[in-house]
Structures are given as structure tokens and as C-alpha cells.
Symmetry: C2
Subunit: 259 residues, 2 copies
DNA sequence: ACCGGGCGTTCCACTCAGCGGTACGCTGTG
DNA sequence: CACAGCGTACCGCTGAGTGGAACGCCCGGT
């Protein structure tokens, strides 16, 4: 039973709040959702859902088929205009490509939003390991390499917030002890690298490096390489990841107006 | 002077219409837009723009900075959940990567929407030619290889609509005679390939192939490789492009529920 | 075959969310 | 200094939006 993500602290009293609730009722893996399911997920009255969905269809944010609604291409187009993500993606693409060619493992670019990682890009080939990450998707920071490196290179308040909050266990390897995580973050800060050893997903290893801002201390983004246990050795790629992140950072630094 | 894209035939009488007008006031290259510019582009009263923008900020669809508003990451995240684009991107990625590695030129994945191409992916490296295409962006079909191949493999009504409408000249090489374009489309249909020779952008050449649907006739999408005049020879890559498109088509055909 | 549950669509009297003109303080420029 | 332009806040008014109810259709179970 999936309930729509908070449209914005429950304000289903406004048209916009309802529309956003409807859009956010679609999960990352959903294809078509019938009207009745949208009603269940939003808790809005049927007539309202029907009307707002119809309006969203009119505005090309939803698409209606015989079997239900789905998020429309107009939303994809709008989403790809988000200035920060768009720019980062465009500038980072060549570096991500190089890294992919060098490793032939899954390459990720991510940013921090609040206390989570948001993936801006995911590049993989035919032999990519099955990873639950998704462009535009989110993961916790404490159990992902990319998240740890972002956490290590961000404001202490954010770090404290994550360390003092729950560190949900996702696998038997997840580090759930704040002390242990803090040590990992310290090491990430020293070395400019973080590793992930089946902490978020069984069978997956990862190494990540920060894309530093012009202050040289905080991370704008991070780049990682992920591969499967057995074949993948994170240490073997750490220099390539670090080089890519450093090169991207310096390219971004040279841009007028920054990100 | 840029006016916001039609929110949906001018319905600025509704909250949703206004919100969408505001979001679509941001162009593909815009970074920050101050409130006054949003007022100018939408034609909405200042107080209304201020209020709706504030609501959109609240819902993480816009972001407010000292110097103006920009489309927010929440919109990027929503956009990346669009089912059709998301699926296509995910399934196509390995094929696009292979093609990039083989050519080291810019690789595009596009779909048809109405009488335009919408780019779903753009993959390029450090030496990529300067191309105006953009993920989530649109181009006319008549002067792009990817557009021509989509046009050749779609319903005759669409083809007729494009051929009977204006074929705007974008470069001295743009084909603006319907008869000539029709011949190119015929050839694209026979050969399963279309070429672009500086028709959309001076200095750019391109070859594209359709990703056919299970009916073997209509195109779900198309893949292209683009490079600069002088270095790039489209004919040299035509087999690789066709192979990638064919492989992708067959992978999509094997998916339960299709796209 | 019949029944009931669930689906999607439509309607309309009512109401409060949304509206935008106005006022104000601030900033930058000539 | 004056003025234009900016962004923010306010509030009486009203019509856009509401959602309960009704209806027809479909499907699965007995």
C-alpha cells in the first residue's frame, strides 16, 4: 500500500497541492495507475481526482490510456529543464563517459538533497550489475559510497543530522553504528574517497569521490563506480574515479556563474 | 522576448494553468529568472505570479534564490519518473553506450511527439561536436536525421501534416521543398536509414535508424550518431547505428507489456 | 443467471481558495 | 535628488473548484 509522497505537508486544500499529490502518487517503478488507485494513494475524493487528473492530462503532465494514467512526456521535458541538474549533467557527461570506458562498470553522478542522495545520472552497459539506483531517484547517504562522500564534504549540521537520526539497516553489512559511520566519514574526508561494501545492496561494491566546490571543501556532487562482488575491485578504480571527479570540479570551477 | 509556451491554449483562468505557465516560462537555456521576468513572460499579474511562484517553491517545483527563481530538483525527480521515457532510457542505455564507444561521436535517442522530435538521451564525450540538441528538448523533424527516420516510419497522416505544413529553413542546406523531403523519406523507408547534411545545424552531419515496433513498420524511437563536417563520415557508421537500433528494438519487443 | 462490488463519468448547489489592484519600502541609475 | 523598477504584503470580493451523489458498465463469485 503506497501512499503519495507528502505533497507539501498535507496541503490537499489547494489545487496545486492536489495536483502535486497526484503526480507524486506515481512511484519510481509504476507504469499505469487507474483512477481508483490514484484515489487510494492520495486519499482525495474520486470526483476530485478525476477532475484534477483530467486537467493534468490537458497540460501534458499526465497521459490517459484505456488502462489508466501515467506520467507524461511533458513532465519529462519540464524536468530536463531543471537548471542545476541539466547543467551538471551536460558538463559531467564527457567525464562520466571516460570513466565508463575505462571501467565498464556502472557510473553514477549524484548530489545531496537534504539527507539523501539524488542520482543525476546513471551510465551502464550490457554487463552492468543490478543496482536499485535510478536517475532522479533517491538513496540514503549512510549506506552508499556516493552518499558517504557527499556527507563527508558537507556542512557539519547535515552530518550531525544523519548521524543522530536512524541509520536503517538495508543489508547485513549496513553500518548502523553512528561511531563507525563517523569513522568512515573521517576517512573519506582524508582520502577523498569512500567505499561501499554491500551496505546498501547485497552483492554490490562501490567507490566514490567528491566533486568539490571552489572552496575546495564542500562537494557539489559526487561520482561513483559500482560493480558486483566477485568481479569488481573498488580499489582498482579509485584513481580513475578521483581523477574524473577532480577534472569535473575544475571544469565547473571555470564556468562563469558556476552551477 | 520570450513568451511562455502555451500552458494549454491560454487557460490562465485556472490555478493549474497558471502554475504550468510559470513552469513553462523557463526556457531550455534559462538559469535564474527574476519575478519581473516571469511576469513579463506569462502576462499574469505580479501579485499572482508572486503567489503561484511561492506555492511552486513550497512544492519543490521551483527554487528561489536571491537573484531569482529556477526550476527545482523536485521537478527533475518527477520528470525522471515519466514511464515511457524512463523505460526507454533504461533499456536503451547499454546500446547507446556501445554505439558511443564504437564511434566516439554524439549519440542521440529520440521519439516523435506530434510533428517534432523529442530527445530522450544525448551521450557525448570531450570531443563532441557542438549540437543544439538537448535531452528533453525538441527539434523539427524535417531537417534532422532522427526526425526524418521517425517521420518515414510513422502514420501517413503525420507525414502528410509535416509535408503540407511549413518546412522552416534553418541553414542554407535545409530541405524546404516537400517533394525533395518526400523522396528522402521514401529512401529512409527503403534503407532503414536517414542522413542529415547540415540541414538543421551548420557543420553537423548525422545518420539515424529507427527502433521499430513489433509491427515492424512503425518506429517507437530512433537512434542517431552526429559529428562534425570534416571529420565525421555518416556512411562509416550507418551499420553500427542500424545494428544498435535493431538490437534495441528486439530487446523492447521481448519486454512484457512493451514500452 | 443474478447479484454485488468496484470502476469511471457526470452533475450542480455551495463555499472559501484564489485573486489582483494597491500600497509600500528598497535599490540602482542618471 | 527623482524616478523607474523591483519584490512583498494586504484584503474585500467572487467565481473556480468542490465532492457527495447518482448512474451505467464490467467482472467475478455463487
Amino acid at each position: 500500500m503506497r501512499v503519495a509522497e507528502h505533497a507539501g505537508d498535507g496541503d490537499l486544500d489547494t489545487v496545486l497541492g492536489k495536483a502535486v499529490a497526484l503526480l507524486r502518487a506515481f512511484g519510481p517503478e509504476d507504469r499505469l495507475l487507474p483512477l481508483a488507485e490514484l484515489v487510494r494513494r492520495t486519499g482525495l475524493p474520486k470526483g476530485t481526482v478525476h477532475r484534477v487528473a483530467g486537467d493534468l492530462v490537458h497540460h501534458r503532465l499526465l497521459e490517459k490510456t484505456d488502462h489508466g494514467y501515467r506520467l507524461a512526456g511533458g513532465l519529462f521535458e519540464l524536468g530536463m529543464r531543471a537548471a542545476t541538474e541539466r547543467t551538471l549533467l551536460e558538463v559531467a557527461m564527457p567525464f562520466l563517459q571516460d570513466l565508463y570506458e575505462r571501467t565498464h562498470e556502472t557510473v553514477h553522478l549524484g548530489v545531496r538533497d537534504g539527507t539523501e542522495v539524488v542520482y543525476v545520472a546513471k551510465i551502464g552497459g550490457h554487463r552492468q550489475a543490478r543496482s536499485p539506483s535510478r536517475t532522479g531517484g533517491r538513496m540514503p547517504m549512510h549506506c552508499t559510497a556516493i552518499g558517504k562522500v557527499l556527507l563527508a564534504h558537507t556542512k557539519p549540521a547535515v552530518r550531525a543530522a544523519v548521524l543522530s537520526g536512524p541509520l536503517p539497516r538495508r543489508t547485513p553489512h549496513t553500518v548502523v553504528a553512528p561511531g563507525l559511520l563517523e569513522q568512515q566519514l573521517g576517512r573519506a574526508l582524508e582520502t577523498g574517497l569512500a567505499f561501499e561494501r554491500e551496505e546498501s545492496t547485497p552483492g554490490l561494491l562501490c567507490v566514490a569521490a567528491p566533486v568539490l566546490d571552489t572552496d575546495g571543501a564542500s562537494a557539489l556532487a559526487a561520482i561513483s563506480v559500482t560493480g558486483p562482488v566477485g568481479r569488481f575491485r573498488p580499489e582498482a578504480h579509485q584513481n580513475a574515479v578521483r581523477a574524473a571527479a577532480t577534472a569535473l570540479a575544475s571544469t565547473l570551477a571555470r564556468r562563469p556563474g558556476g552551477l
